[in-house]
């Protein structure tokens, strides 16, 4: 039992580290050029520009801070929950753009030009979503107050 719990904790830590890294990186890259990120959101043609500008300055901070919070012992589930929420939205947006046949650059990592292969982007987000879900579940299973 003891050994199993130990391994689980290590695995959880690795997942937390990895997911935190991805989100912090994504947030920082977007913060490099919020105006460009706003334009990328515009390209999805899902929401009005007024909203996109707000999201462009707000979302990156949620990414960075939730990423950091993922590494704090007591804020893990909150952070992972927020990230799951974001990922669901990202997947939905990508799927919507894909269905409509939009040719856009993803905007996933700010203004760094990424090849927009929808299948790959959605798959990647699903993996992240499952990782965040696993962390949520694993932390709860762990039952140790300080992770």
């Amino acid at each position: 039992m003891e050994g199993g719990a130990g391994i689980m904790r290590i695995v959880l830590w690795l997942f937390r580290l990895g997911l935190a890294g991805v989100f912090i990186y994504a947030g920082v890259m977007k913060l490099a050029d919020p105006a460009a990120f706003a334009r990328e959101i515009d390209a999805y043609r899902l929401t009005p520009k007024v909203l996109n500008d707000m999201v462009a300055v707000y979302l990156p901070w949620v990414e960075v801070l939730s990423g950091a919070a993922l590494l704090l012992p007591r804020a893990v589930r909150a952070a992972a929950s927020i990230q799951m929420g974001m990922l669901v939205v990202f997947i939905a947006a990508l799927a919507s753009a894909w269905i409509r046949g939009l040719d856009i650059s993803c905007g996933c990592f700010g203004a760094s030009a990424e090849v927009a292969s929808y299948g790959w982007l959605i798959a990647r987000n699903i993996v992240l979503l499952l990782s965040a879900g696993f962390i949520c579940w694993g932390i709860r299973q762990d039952r140790i107050p300080r992770a």
């Binding site: 105006a35 390209a43 901070w61 040719d103 650059s105």
Partner: protein, 147 residues
Amino acid sequence: MRRTLWQVVGLLVLCVLPAVATAWWHPRSPYRAEESGNSTVVLADDEVTLATALAWEKAVLWVDARSQADFEAQHIPGAVWLSAGEWEAGLFEVLERVPEDGWVVVYCGSERCGASREVADRLRDEVGLKRVVVLHGGWDAWKAGQE
């Protein structure tokens, strides 16, 4: 569960302050460059404006990276259609018609599409062409310039 909920709310609220600060002070805030004119065009390293490309006159080979349907409907006069899906076919023509000491300018639909960069990168990396650039604004920019 309740604690997690409060933490989620807290984190989301916490992000508002840096978001406002970003909107206000970031040199590339979406709230800064409000005018739609040419004054604040931010070009990537491999992009050129329509004006620049037109100034090269005959020393340009236009490459259309959009869908075949789009190309056949309308394209920049003299452009070669080259897409990732039909690479070999288009590439032959590109190589035949590349002007000596000239430029290859790749375009896709708009400012935000990724296909032109994909094609441009392949031309540089796989084929070894040096003077390959992407048209900022894509087909939209061309049409606007025609009016």
